[in-house]
């Protein structure tokens, strides 16, 4: 919300002590920045002030002489140089106690059975405000709860009406199905009727709600108190953004995910895939023992020996969903020349381009905080809400920069949230979307350019040319609307901080090239004096797509690997955490696997590739191991191991036997891959730890340690050792209170909730003290030039493009129970015209025929799509997407095919569903 650029400091006096604080802020925010305890509810660091709860009252004095002062809400009072205030003033203390008492009159006092108990902001503030004796003896107001879908519980009786939920859900995240209802003390926060919350960010309600109205349903089912969860700093593996998370484990089960603050990246929020998509870790089918082709269990030593045995004549295929250490260990095992990327052909091409741009000094790949500062944005082809949801949330904030300008003109401070929204009305900084249909960002977009993927690329090239004549021209404006392209060009060129977004999500390399041309054209147009690199945000598909790409040679694609196997050039194959059938035409994968003498697959859940392997080695899941991942920005981040896996599964780098310790694997990776040189910077400085000690993963109050396994053995086992990290699987050691990089679960005296994070910031919304985890790996090298406009494609037929869904497109999260409840079936989205022309109706089974494959999915008829494109979503069906090729034909499929696709399309949330839906 607030930019971090130089701030003017002024002096104010709080309870007779002078402090330096930020001038353009409010008193509450500054008190919290100073580390003072002042209770609040409706204020949120990222959403500003509205003055509803009245909890943050302080006394303000007019001048030195004023002895009486006046109560004022700190969150609504601007900082004024020389201001004198008091938090401790008895009248202020009294009033705050009164507010808490009011809030609690109808509260059910059900803390023992409330999931929020022990990390409840309301509990904290109640204690802090000194309400500890209940006087209200009249009737309480009660509410009925709603069913809100598989993710979120609703317990309205706990509500204290701070309005944070709706402010986050609708104002911040753009959700349309949660709002304040009714009035006075019957005010209610819910949907207009029961049903799943539609927003991709609904899970943040759990953290935004200061009490237990919205709680995590998945967690509720296997609940533990916060202090009984073993936790460690982690990274979300849901997409290429790399949001910071704090998973919590109990009894060997991963119980929940919460946001972990990162000032440059996710801030306070993550998406629902990240929060609810890790159930696969607890999956009953998790691979536990090494197995041979017959499914016979092998002991670990034998299995490891076999792996090493075949490695000499093997090529290996890495994984964008595995960490750098795993990929590097395999690379080391088979040799760099034999190590291949695990990307599909289209994605490989995109990644090549993305990494090339990442080295271009004309461009800058912005962090989320920087994205939020863009004042004109163009998104090319990428369906950001479904491929990198957290970025979509950031783009939604970027359009508010116009509102801040308007606010400035009326001298409304930026933290005055409601007033800023009011003066801005529908005025927004421009956001343009190039898309194949309606997207979930349409509501804040200035306009959408709708076309087929190749059409979008042509239009985008034309746009680049309009911005700067050096960019090659596309004939006939690329088929676009000249006036509209002019308008977009003009607004981007006029912006102070324009941003171009594209990505590997739909595998259209030309769109990425076109994005590069547009960004380069804008950069060229900037005067010589203003040659700041231009924000070009190129999104990578998976958690470590970038890391994997940095480890492979340019020619070592997956295609090349399959070729080497099919041709006999390579004898054996080792596949790391990768279902090849998701990446290449099934026939080619089959051919390669059938020719390979021995195939070893390392993975954590069975899939089509492990099914074909001669040896399957079980690996640990993200929360069971330590790993580093490189996100879309080129930021390497360390995910710590949270808990142990008690089966034979181990991290892939351990199976290879190359390294004894994680640090060794990491160091070796950094040394042997030039692009990874800075990887070592992700490791924390542990020199300050007393006596070289360790940090506990278990909080002080962790209970039942000696009883946990008593049903198996009454002898208390020795605590497991963790030779690989600075963390201990126990309560012993010094908690990470003063080291932000090791901080999973913030806590401070009187602050048990996630709001305690402010105690780790020098300044609200600023970096954590001692920085934050992560190291930017990529160096800018030599600049590149404009890409040529691709030849117009003469082929006929319907263009095939992937349709991504937040719930269903990512391989592992799609195997989580909670996510499955929100997944649609496989479908192909088409325009009403195509549907009518092919005798298809929404929801009917359709046969999609391509080059080397033919599949059956459901027809999804979407009103805003252009004709000539089919957007295919595979969901969890075993569909030969890559076998279809670039163009497809459609035909109605037999009626019983639809029955097999029994998940239906009901869970799809799109705004332009057509007739009959």
């Amino acid at each position: 919300m607030t930019t971090m650029t130089e701030k003017t400091k002024v002096e104010i006096i709080i309870d007779d002590v002078a402090y330096q604080v930020n001038a353009d802020s409010n008193l509450l925010q500054e008190c919290l920045s100073l580390g003072l305890d002042l209770p609040y509810f409706c204020w949120h660091p990222c959403m500003g002030s509205v003055g509803a709860c009245r909890q943050c009252a302080v006394k303000q004095y007019r001048n030195e002489e004023d002895q009486d002062g006046l109560l004022t809400m700190a969150c609504m009072t601007p900082v004024q140089p020389g201001a004198r205030i008091s938090i401790a003033d008895p009248q202020a203390v009294d009033f705050r106690a009164g507010v808490i008492e009011s809030l609690m009159i109808s509260h059910p006092h059900d803390c023992p059975v409330c999931e929020e108990g022990g990390e409840c902001h309301l509990q904290d503030m109640t204690l802090m405000s000194g309400h500890n004796y209940r006087r209200y003896d009249k009737k309480k107001v009660t509410h009925r709860n709603q069913y809100l879908g598989p993710f979120i519980n609703h317990e309205m009786n706990r509500c204290i009406t701070c309005y944070r939920c709706v402010r986050f859900y609708s104002e911040y995240a753009g959700g349309v199905d949660l709002a304040a209802q009714a009035a006075h003390h019957h005010t209610y926060f819910g949907r207009h009727e029961e049903g799943a919350l539609e927003s991709e960010f609904s899970g943040n309600l759990v953290e935004v709600c200061p009490t237990g109205v919205f709680t995590d349903k998945i967690f509720s089912e296997r609940y533990s108190r916060k202090w009984d969860l073993q936790t460690a700093p982690s990274i979300c593996t849901g997409c290429g953004v790399g949001c910071n998370t704090a998973p919590g484990e109990r009894y060997g089960e991963l119980r929940r995910i919460v946001n972990r603050y990162h000032s440059e990246l996710n801030g306070y929020f993550i998406c629902d895939r990240g929060r609810f998509g890790t159930g696969y870790v607890n999956h009953a089918e998790r691979l536990q023992q090494p197995q041979d082709a017959e499914g016979k269990t092998l002991d670990a030593e034998t299995a490891a020996a076999r792996l090493r045995e075949i490695a000499g004549k093997a090529i290996a295929i890495g994984s964008p969903r595995a960490g750098n250490e795993a990929n590097h260990a395999l690379r080391k095992l088979v040799g760099e020349a034999n190590f291949h990327g695990g990307f599909s052909a289209a994605e490989q091409a995109c990644m090549d381009e993305i990494v090339a741009f990442a080295g271009d000094p004309a461009f800058h790949n912005p962090s989320i905080r920087e994205i939020e500062q863009a004042d004109a944005v163009l998104v090319l082809g990428e369906d950001v809400t479904n491929t990198a949801p957290r970025i979509a949330l950031a783009l939604r904030q970027s359009v508010r920069n116009r509102a801040y300008e308007l606010a400035d003109s009326a001298r409304i401070p930026h933290w005055q949230d409601a007033a800023v929204r009011e003066i801005a009305q529908h005025e927004r900084s421009p956001l343009y979307l190039f898309a194949t249909g309606a997207t979930r960002l349409d509501d804040v977009a200035e306009a959408s350019v709708i076309d087929t993927p190749s059409g979008l690329a042509r239009q985008a090239f034309a746009l680049a040319h309009r911005i700067h004549a050096d960019a090659p021209a596309a004939s006939g404006d690329g088929g676009g609307n000249a006036a509209q392209l002019d308008q977009i060009a003009e607004q981007l060129a006029a912006a102070k901080r324009p941003l171009i977004v594209a990505g590997a999500g739909n595998g259209q390399v030309e769109l990425i090239r076109a994005a590069g041309n547009i960004a380069r054209a804008l950069h060229k147009r900037r005067g010589n004096g203003e040659r700041k690199p231009l924000d070009l945000c190129l999104l990578t598909g998976e958690v470590n797509s970038m890391g994997l790409h940095l480890l492979i040679r340019p020619e070592n694609s997956l295609e090349a690997a399959l070729e080497k196997l099919a041709s006999g050039e390579a004898e054996n194959l080792i596949v790391l955490e990768n279902d090849l059938y998701r990446r290449a035409p099934h026939a080619r994968v089959d051919a390669a696997l059938n020719t390979a003498r021995t195939t070893v697959a390392l993975d954590l859940l069975p899939n089509r590739t492990t099914a074909k392997a001669d040896l399957v080695l079980p690996v640990t899941a993200f929360s069971e191991q330590q790993a580093t991942y490189v996100n879309y920005e080129g930021r390497a981040q360390l995910a710590w191991q949270v808990h142990r896996n008690h089966s034979a599964a181990r991290p892939a780098w351990q199976w290879t036997g190359e390294f004894a310790h994680f640090r060794e694997a990491l160091h070796d990776c950094a040394v042997s891959a030039p692009a990874m040189a800075r990887l070592v910077e992700v490791l924390p400085d542990t020199s300050h730890l007393p006596g070289g000690g360790k940090l506990p993963r278990q909080p002080e109050r962790y209970s039942g340690r000696t009883a946990m396994k008593a049903n198996l053995n009454v002898h208390e086992p020795k605590q497991a050792q963790d030779p690989d990290s600075a963390l201990a699987f126990s309560m012993e050691g010094v908690p990470a209170r003063r080291d932000a990089t090791l901080l999973a679960s913030p806590w401070a005296p009187q602050w048990n909730s996630n709001q305690s994070i402010s105690k780790f910031q020098d300044e609200i919304n600023g970096p954590l003290r001692q920085g934050h985890g992560g190291a930017l790996l990529l160096e800018r090298g030599a600049g590149g030039g404009f890409h040529p406009v691709p030849e117009a494609d003469e082929a006929t037929g319907i263009e095939l493009t992937p349709a991504r869904q937040i719930f269903g497109s990512e391989e592992l999260s799609a195997r989580s129970e909670a996510i499955r409840k929100r997944m649609s079936d496989a479908y192909v989205a088409i325009s009403p015209g195509i549907a009518a022309g092919h005798g298809l109706t929404h929801g009917a089974a359709v046969s999609v025929r391509g080059e080397d494959a033919s599949i059956t999915v459901l027809a999804c008829v979407r009103g805003s799509m252009p004709s000539g494109v089919a957007a295919l979503h595979a969901s969890d069906r075993e569909i030969d997407f890559h076998g279809l090729g670039a163009r497809v034909s459609l035909a109605p499929a037999a009626g019983d095919a639809a029955v097999a696709l029994d998940r239906g399309l009901g869970e799809l949330i799109v705004s332009d569903l057509a007739q009959g839906s």
Partner: protein, 426 residues
């Protein structure tokens, strides 16, 4: 000279004046002056000099309020003028009289005000239940439109104005000017934080003036007969006349236009005819449900903003509610507390959750379950819900009768506790 500019045309036994009749008695003179070249700033100066104070309750000087609207080339072009005709304050029945008695007076005033701040759109935010006012105003608006007093380029002045009649969907809080703006925008009528004031960022974020019906009805007279005349109307310190009403068990309840500064006793005894037979005056709320009680000893004060403030209350809407010796003060205050707790918008904590507690305590008193413990809690809430502590002035309004009632009628509360019943009930 005219001495009752607000009600001179009002006679409820006949339909209100139509446009022609209204014009025949000096109506729309301000508009004609504007057509003759009066600048917006001239209008503003006149209103400032008149000393007119807002009649909506707060008594804020009208000209001063207008002067905060950004004017000039840098200022937003779109501005709005809004008439607050939400009249829902318990015991208040003055704006209805004006709208149903002389609708053109209001329209006349609106044109003047809109011109002064250069608003091209004006809304009348009318209470939904005022169906008769709606009918009458719609007719008058149509006449004014027909006559060219509304629309584009009014009387060749280059000034355009549309007046839109909006009927409220009902809630007392809609009368609070910022909540009113939210209601007009079709949102939940929660008030807005001030600053920014509506004059800077109001309706749809544009500069906006909200004035009460009666305030606006003062404008035609000021424009027609001048400042000296206007200042001469008063008997006291504040200028002009005002509508004063009396309800409760007086002989002839009603609403009258009187010079400011008229003694309260005159209003009560001469106009309202004194108490009904057998009853005595026990106290009164001088200006609607959110003012502090006054006592018989205050009868000799004058109906002036400062005089009434001196007695610890507010002149506010000027419509008095009389408490007689046989009506239970605890019941009366309890009735108001039910009203306020139900009409709280639910935005801020003290009001939303404090008033229901207060209300529950009154229900307990009513049911013969009053206790000293609860009485102490009532006392606490007077302070807790007071000015500056809540988000808007609704809750402080509720504390006015509550706090003064606890002070003046303590004995009655005590009797409810000691007798464990309402002593006024047979």
């Amino acid at each position: 000279m005219v001495s009752n500019p607000l009600t001179r045309n009002i006679d409820l036994s006949r339909p209100p004046f139509d446009l022609a009749a209204y014009e025949a008695v000096d109506g729309y003179r301000g508009l004609r002056e504007i057509a003759r070249g009066l600048e917006p700033s001239d209008v503003l100066d006149k209103v400032k000099d008149s000393g007119l104070k807002g009649r909506g309750g707060a008594g804020f000087p009208t000209g001063l309020k207008w002067s905060f609207v950004p004017m000039g080339d840098d200022a937003p072009k779109q501005k709005y003028f809004v008439v607050n005709a939400d009249e829902m304050e318990p015991g208040t029945f003055k704006d209805r009289l004006l709208m149903e008695g002389d609708p053109h007076l209001l329209i006349d005033g609106m044109i003047i005000a809109s011109y002064a701040i250069q608003a091209n759109t004006a809304y009348i935010f009318l209470r939904g239940e005022y169906t008769e006012s709606e009918r009458i105003l719609r007719k008058a608006l149509a006449e004014a439109r027909e006559r060219g007093y509304l629309g584009n380029n009014i009387l060749d002045t280059g000034f355009d104005l549309e007046i839109i009649l909006h009927t409220s969907a009902g809630r007392y809080i809609c009368g609070e000017e910022t909540a009113l703006l939210n209601a007009l925008e079709g949102k939940r009528a929660n008030p807005r934080a001030k600053p920014p004031f509506p004059q800077v960022s109001g309706l749809w974020g544009k500069p906006t003036i909200v004035n009460n019906v009666e305030t606006v009805c003062n404008l035609p007279g000021i424009m027609a007969w001048g400042i000296d005349w206007y200042r001469g109307l008063t008997k006291g310190n504040d200028h002009g006349t005002k509508l004063f009403g009396v309800s409760g068990k007086v002989r002839s309840p009603g609403c009258w236009e009187l010079p400011l500064g008229t003694p309260i006793r005159e209003l009560m005894e001469v106009y309202a005819g004194g108490m009904r037979d057998g009853l005595e005056l026990k106290g009164f709320l001088p200006g609607g449900g959110s003012t502090d009680f006054m006592l018989p000893e205050h009868l000799d004060l004058n109906l002036d903003y400062d005089d009434i403030a001196g007695a610890g209350s507010r002149l506010a809407t000027g419509t008095m509610i009389v408490l007689d010796s046989q009506t239970c003060p605890v019941g009366m205050i309890g009735n108001l507390m039910t009203f306020f707790s139900h009409e709280s918008c639910g935005y801020c904590t003290p009001c939303r959750d404090g008033l229901p507690w207060v209300n529950e305590i009154f229900r307990a008193f009513e049911a013969g379950k009053g206790s000293h413990r609860d009485l102490a809690i009532l006392e606490e809430h007077v302070d807790y819900l007071g000015p500056g502590k809540t988000f808007c002035a609704l809750a402080p309004g509720a504390t006015a009768p509550l706090g003064s009632g606890l002070r003046y009628f303590r004995e009655d509360f005590e009797r409810h506790i000691s007798e464990q019943r309402c002593p006024y009930k047979q």
